[in-house]
Amino acid sequence: MTELINFVTVSLILVGIGIYGLIVKRNAIRMIFAIEIIANAANLNLIAFSRYLGDIQGQVFALFAIAIAAAEVAVGLAIIIIAYRLYKDIDVAQYKYLRG
């Protein structure tokens, strides 16, 4: 029988993978992948706790979070496109003028 702790463990593993990707990868598209994996782990947690508490609010928040993640991917990919046009590269170490 699967219980809350199983789902939370999977979510924790996904967050770990996403943070590893964010630290190690210098490729902008891969960093977007890592952010997506972290966002999905958060959604999984929301749904798992919604099921655990028997409350609908978690599902509503997960729906909002999914829509916001879609908007974030659209803007992030547009930024990657414009940075690629400027630098002819998608290595984030090359994006010198984006540093503060």
């Binding site: 992948f33 890592a34 729906l63 993640a69």
Partner: protein
């Protein structure tokens, strides 16, 4: 202990998430990311929330993964193989993420959540979600729609090419053309004076 379906689904999800970050070609990584999102949707179905699972499939697998695959195709292929990440950073990232996982995992397994059991199944979930969205969360709903519209307009205006503006400007009347119009007008005035 977990049953076989759950274990298979978690192996699929976690494995394709790792493959999405570590695959040699980034297009396979994008497809692996889509499979990982499908695995998450499977978890949502296991957690008795099929509406969110359908939303996840429609948004992530239908929109986000396709968008990512399009971007991967638009960006030139040689620069996609820029895997010159140094070994030290890789080891540091591995150690950091493992430490974080072990730390939070120890906390979780020693807490009361490790023995928590699910509450009884909810009924009429979709009706309740619709009710909540259109009553209590209706300002959030409207704000979310505006955010999506704003982000799409922002993405379009960011990704627009600058030289299309220049092309539009060159199609406007050139100085020589304006001069010709000016001379024609003068001639007309001259003729009227003569009349």
């Amino acid at each position: 202990m977990a049953d076989a379906g759950f274990i298979g689904l978690s192996i699929l999800t976690v494995g394709s998430a790792i493959f999405a970050l570590e695959s040699r070609e980034i297009i396979y990584g994008a497809i692996a990311l889509a499979i990982s999102m499908l695995g998450i949707a499977g978890f949502f179905i296991l957690l008795d929330s099929p509406f969110v699972a359908m939303f996840q499939i429609a948004v992530y697998v239908g929109a986000v993964a396709v968008l990512v695959i399009f971007i991967v195709m638009l960006v030139r292929t040689e620069s996609l193989f820029s895997t010159d990440e140094d070994k030290g950073r890789r080891i540091a990232g591995l150690i950091f993420s493992l430490l974080m996982m072990v730390g939070i995992g120890v906390l979780l397994f020693s807490s009361l959540f490790s023995r928590a059991e699910f509450s009884p199944l909810m009924e009429k979930i979709v009706n309740k979600i619709g009710n909540e969205m259109l009553t209590y969360y209706s300002p959030v709903f409207i704000l979310l729609a505006l955010t999506l519209a704003g982000s799409i307009i922002g993405a379009l205006s960011l990704a627009r090419r600058e030289d299309s503006d220049e092309r539009a400007q060159t199609s406007t009347p050139s100085p020589q053309y304006e001069e010709k119009i000016y001379l024609d007008k003068k001639n007309e005035e001259h003729e009227q004076e003569q009349v």
